[in-house]
Structure formats: C-alpha cells, structure tokens
C-alpha cells in the first residue's frame, strides 16, 4: 500500500514537472515568435516534410477507411432495410467530422512526429542545439517555431484532403459494390452536411496539430543518453501523441457540440 502511494506521488511530481517544462517551452516559442524574424526557408522545408511527404499515406489510409465504412454501412443497412440507405450521409459525416481528423493526426504523429523527435533529439545529443546558441540563434526560433507552424498549417490541409479522399473511397464502394447511384450518394451527403460539420473536423485538426507539435518537440528536447535515449523518446513521443489525440478528441468534440459547431 505504501509502495502504491509512493509511486502515485512520484508520478504526480513527474507530471507537474513535465507540465512545467512544457510551459517553459511554449513560453519560449511564443516569445521568440514575436521577437524574431520567421525562418521562412525552414518553415517551407518542414511543411514539405511534415505535410507533403505524409500525403500518400494519409490518402491511402483515408481512402480505404471510406471504402470499408461504405461497405459495412451498406451491408448492415441491407440486412435491416433490404437496401443500402444513407450511405453518403454516414460516410460523409463520419469521415469529415471524425475519421479524417483523427486518422490523419495519427498518421502524421507516427510519421512526422517521430521524425521531429528523433531529429531534435539527435541534435541535442550531438551538441547541435548548443551550437545554435553559439551561432546567434536559438532552438525555439530555428527548430520549434518552424515545426509548430508547419504542423499547424499542413495538418488541417491534409485533413481536408483526407476527407475528400475518404468520401471518394466510400463513393467507389457504394457505386461498384452496393449499386447506389452516384446522385443518391452525393445528395445524401450535401442534403445533410453543413459548413459547421466541416468546421468541426477542420478545427479539431488544428488542436491535434498543436498537440503533436508540442509532444514531438518536447520529447526531442528532453532526450538524453545517446542512441538509446533517442529510441526511447521517439517511441514515447508517438505513443503520447496518439493517446492524447484519441482522448482529447472526445473532449474537443464535446466542447464543439456545446458551442454549436456540429
């Protein structure tokens, strides 16, 4: 029992410590954002790495998710009502509001988040972060701000694209496998979907981008202990980002529903 409370206390102290360190990192990012010129070249480079390079995987994941969603909905609907009903509506809402933002965030966390942690961590281990200080700049200015901007700009764009691709995946299955006419599929979507439905998913992806950027940068800066440290932190970065995205997804969605973005 004593051991349990000891562990609990230690974990709590560690959590407070982490929150403090993350706050300092965010403060540093905000201060340097307003007090220095943006590194445009670095921002573009990171946007390509984080956004453009993730495009293929994001499309693949969302296209097949749209397909399987249409397939399952179609056959379930057939069993219940003898015909596939509202396939477009279900696929459209699920993809736009939930699956595209979450799946895209998970793919980006796994691909780009891990890369950011490993890169910053390796730079720390090899004293490249110290070198930034001696060369007149700062890790917040040169590394963190470009990555934050790249995540926050590209993840919502990827999500929009992922939503379109997912709906196209559903369209292909409903047309070819389920025999739903294309006009019915599109009507099912556009009759019920509103701008706020689109905004629900789009705004959520902004939060996810911030979460992934924060976790991956923080884990990179906290690395110690060489290659083993890089391995450990990279794994932790991906797992933490994914868990936070999935857990906070509910709370963000609930908050949006509360303010009428549904």
């Amino acid at each position: 029992m004593k051991y349990f409370f000891q562990q609990l206390g230690q974990n709590f102290i560690q959590l407070v410590n982490t929150v403090g360190k993350v706050s300092f990192m965010l403060k540093s990012v905000v201060v340097w954002l307003f007090r220095s010129r943006l590194e445009y070249e670095e921002i573009v480079k990171q946007a390509v790495r984080i956004g453009f390079d993730s495009l293929t995987v994001v499309c693949l994941v969302n296209f097949f998710t749209g397909m399987v969603l249409a397939l399952q909905t179609g056959y379930s609907s057939k069993n219940l009502f003898n015909e596939p009903l509202y396939i477009g509506t279900i696929v459209g809402f699920s993809i736009i509001k939930e699956l595209a933002p979450v799946l895209t965030a998970i793919v980006v966390a796994g691909r780009a988040g891990a890369a950011v942690t490993a890169e910053i961590g390796t730079m720390k281990v090899t004293e490249q972060l110290d070198a930034l200080h001696t060369l007149g700049t700062n890790p917040a200015r040169y590394l963190l701000i470009p990555r934050y901007i790249a995540f926050i700009v590209t993840l919502p764009l990827l999500t929009v694209f992922a939503g379109f691709v997912g709906i196209m995946g559903g369209f292909v299955v409903s047309l070819v496998k389920l025999g739903v006419p294309s006009t019915v599929y599109w009507n099912d979507i556009f009759t019920f979907m509103e701008v706020s439905s689109f905004m629900h998913g789009f705004l959520k992806s902004l939060f996810f981008a911030f979460i992934i950027a924060t976790v991956s940068c923080y884990k990179g800066l906290e690395i110690s202990g060489g290659a083993e440290g890089v391995r450990k932190s990279t794994t932790e970065s991906v797992v933490t980002s994914m868990v936070l995205v999935l857990v906070l997804d509910y709370f963000i969605s609930a908050a949006f529903v509360l303010v009428g973005i549904i």
Partner: protein, 253 residues
C-alpha cells in the same frame, strides 16, 4: 579580456567548479587541462553561457555575463565568441557551405551575397577546397573539425573556445589541427581558450596553461613552469599522460 571571479557550478551536490578565478588576456592562447570529467568543458560552457553558473562573475569586455538571464541579451553577448565543439556539432541537415555560412546570418551584418565568398575564404584558411557542396556525412573526422573551425572563424569572433579539439583524431590529424589552431591565432589575432587533456597539444600551442583539479585551478602558468612544477597534481597528470602515451605507442608496436 575575460575576467573570471569566484565561478561556481554545482550539479546537485557535486561541486564541479569551486570558486574559480582567472584572467584571460587579449590575444592569449590559454589552455585548461585536467583529467576527463574534472569540469573543463563545464568551465568553457559557463564562459559562453551555455551553462548558467551558480555563482561568481564572468566579465568579458566590461559586462558581467554570468548575471544576464535574457536570451536576447545573451545572444548579443555571444557575438564575440565562437565555440568549437568536441564532436564538431555540424548541422547534419545542411551541407558544408550552409554550415560555414550559418553564423553569418545571425551574428554579422554581412550581405547574403557575400556569404559564399566568406565561406570559401575561411574553408581555404583551414586547408579545405572544393568541399562546399559536400554533405556532413561525407566528411572524415579531421575534415569535420576543420569545417567546424571554418564555421567558428567565419564570424570573426574575438574569442574562440576549443573543446577537446584533438580528441578522437589520429596523431597526424591531431598535429595538423594543433598547427591550424596556432595558425588561426597568428593570422586572426584572437583570444583562444583550449580545453584539453592532450599535453602535447597544450604545450605546443599555449601561452599559459591551467590545471583544473577537484573544482579548482591547481596551477596557472606558462608551459615551461608547468613542466617544472612541484605541484603533486601537475606531476601526477604529466606522469600519467606520459605512461598513457607510452602504452599507446607500445600497443601500436
């Protein structure tokens, strides 16, 4: 001139620098020696404020930089310094040219159109030509040190801090690097602070050497005085270095 007064640095309960005081004069080549883990790197990292000291003053050009907390003030202060890291600390994501030019953007008022010319000039000074487009992964250990040196001198600093400049290099390359350090000192008239446990390097390049032991400077003086010193720590260090070198030679034979 850099005046260090009662500099203190602790890591938890371990006192690494215990009220160290020393003056480093303009144009001087000052070496700090001592066994691995004695706090040599901590000392020069404190000088350039990569590490915040726990006490004492570091006065460079009249300013006490140990008391500066603002990152922007520190960035201004660091303009006069360059740091040659033990492993080079070259940016993997940039090529040789971009690495050498890196500091020019942040530390100097040089026109971007002149960056390439300056970089080529500095690379040529350290004996490297036609390497501008090479990636860092394509360079040998010695070449990395040279590129780091070119990056360090590109901004024309007043002070250069060398952290174990010959560690991990073969004897021939070590000698080349020590010749280069001397050469830079003569050509550019800068103040250099070298941290090393390489006796040969320290004796061949230094105007003064200091022996760091148990958080304090046990000796500060010329290399000749160092050789003749009766200080037991200095004697022990010299003897151990000679034994190490002989073992190394015998091992090679």
């Amino acid at each position: 001139m850099i005046e260090v007064e009662n500099l203190v640095k602790k890591y938890k309960d371990n006192i690494v620098l215990d009220s160290i005081s020393v003056n480093i004069y303009d144009g001087e080549m000052f070496s700090v020696m001592g066994p691995s883990g004695c706090g040599k790197s901590t000392f020069i990292k404190c000088l350039v404020r990569l590490i915040k000291p726990d006490g004492g003053r570091i006065i460079a050009d009249g300013k006490n930089m140990a008391a500066i907390d603002d990152e922007f003030e520190l960035a201004k202060y660091r303009r006069n310094f360059s740091y040659l890291f033990q492993g080079g600390a070259l940016f993997d994501s940039l090529n040789v040219m971009e690495n050498v030019c890196f500091g020019l953007k942040y530390l100097t008022d040089a026109e971007p159109s002149n960056y390439e010319r300056i970089a080529k000039e500095k690379l040529s000074l350290v004996g490297l030509n036609n390497v501008e487009e090479l990636e860092i992964s394509e360079l040998s250990g010695g070449m990395k040190k040279r590129v780091s040196l070119a990056r360090a001198i590109a901004t024309e600093p007043k002070y250069i801090l060398y952290d174990e400049p010959t560690t991990g290099l073969d004897p021939v390359t070590s000698e080349t690097i020590s010749d280069l350090i001397l050469d830079m000192q003569k050509k550019l008239d800068i103040t250099s602070i070298v941290v090393t446990h390489d006796l040969k390097l320290a004796f061949s390049i230094s105007d003064r050497v200091a022996m760091l032991h148990a958080g304090k400077f046990d000796f500060v003086g010329t290399p000749d005085d160092f050789r003749k010193s009766d200080n037991s720590v200095v004697k022990g260090f010299i003897n151990n270095s000679i034994i190490d070198e002989n073992n190394h030679k015998n091992g090679r034979e």
